[in-house]
Symmetry: C2
DNA sequence: CCATAAGTTGATGACGGTCTCAACTTTGGC
DNA sequence: GCCAAAGTTGAGACCGTCATCAACTTATGG
């Protein structure tokens, strides 16, 4: 009984789809999510039309490629944070690792800082992964080192704004984001804020 | 003896030049420095060609219009800051006023956050005006409330990054920049940082 | 009032990107 | 092997913007 859910994509079509996915991942990685679709098609050894056939356009391609990559990065940050005993340092590690990743991965940076309204999978993954970080945040608060008024929205905002800063400054001033991040983190310590 | 330095611009040409300047100021104010040049020409009741005749292109127009506006805004911030006695609060006022101005003036925001490499007048004015603020910064440091390692470069960076944040968030979340700014300012207080 | 230099115009081309579709090629079941 | 369905192609329409320039218009001095 062949109750296949997939509308049976032809073999060459499947092959092209996969090529496109890996080409997209590469191109995004190198040039960010705004890379011309033509270039992705070229890398995949396929015409632009095919890209539009398989996926509907840029957003769909992003949504197919990025969620996994984003999840990986955020898990890595979590892993590194969990290896740190001190609650405050653990929290700082989490944020810092995410920011470092933004600094050397345009795709990750854009995935987090662009308004990807038409990439529901990606959005979902982001919020899901970020939800996990609440544990770190609350632990730091219980330890009395993180300001009690800081929310996970603030954490999101911090990560988001760092992506903006990185995008505009990495080239000309590769350490600028570290400086601004250090200010923000200092401001999050209990006893420092309003 | 008519030792006129000006190459005697014809009367209508001068009129158009002025119209272009005010049109540009208006358009920049409403839509930011990336507003189509066509639109500026239209507002001035003039063709695009004329704009290219009088000025060489966007950058030159920006350089002709923005320095004064930027200086005004920064003077206003200084004025407001100087009205505050407490050194720390005075410093905070300066920064906050600049950020507020960014929030409701796309032209000012872009003048500060875009890389205007070909607008030397503007760049000069920005650094000149910002130099004045060092007094506020040093006064706050002498009073022991501002971290001693903070430089005027940091101040510039803070203003610059706020412009980025404002640009990307004012529409969807008008108070986001206040939150991030409050973190940064908290982090600048003596005793809070590394 | 005229001549002419100065200035303006808008149609036009280049650009860099997106997106489409009629004609062609490939696949896979028979 | 054949043929219909599935898939691919690439030229071209389209978009918004910048930038140019030959032909036209206007200001100005004599």
């Amino acid at each position: 009984m062949k109750t296949e859910g997939k509308p049976t994509l032809r073999r060459d079509a499947r092959r092209n789809q996969e090529r496109l996915l890996t080409a997209a991942a590469e191109a995004f990685r190198e040039k960010g999510l705004a890379v011309p679709l033509e270039e992705i098609a070229q890398r995949a050894g396929v015409s632009a039309g095919t890209l539009y056939n398989r996926f509907g356009g840029r957003e769909a391609l992003i949504d197919a490629v990025m969620p996994e990559l984003v999840a990986e990065r955020m898990n890595e940050a979590m892993r590194r944070a969990e290896a740190v005993d001190d609650p405050w340092e653990s929290f700082v590690t989490y944020v810092t690792v995410l920011c470092e990743q933004q600094a050397d991965d345009p795709a990750f940076r854009d995935a987090i800082s662009r308004q990807l309204q038409d990439a529901p999978e990606l959005t979902a993954r982001c919020t899901a992964e970020l939800a996990k970080s609440v544990r770190l945040l609350e632990r730091a608060q219980r330890s009395g080192t993180l300001r009690p008024d800081v929310t996970s929205d603030d954490l999101m905002l911090l990560i988001f704004t760092n992506a903006l800063i990185v995008r505009e400054t990495v080239e000309s001033n590769p350490n600028a984001w570290r400086r601004t991040l250090s200010f923000s983190l200092a401001g999050l310590r209990a006893g420092c804020g309003s």
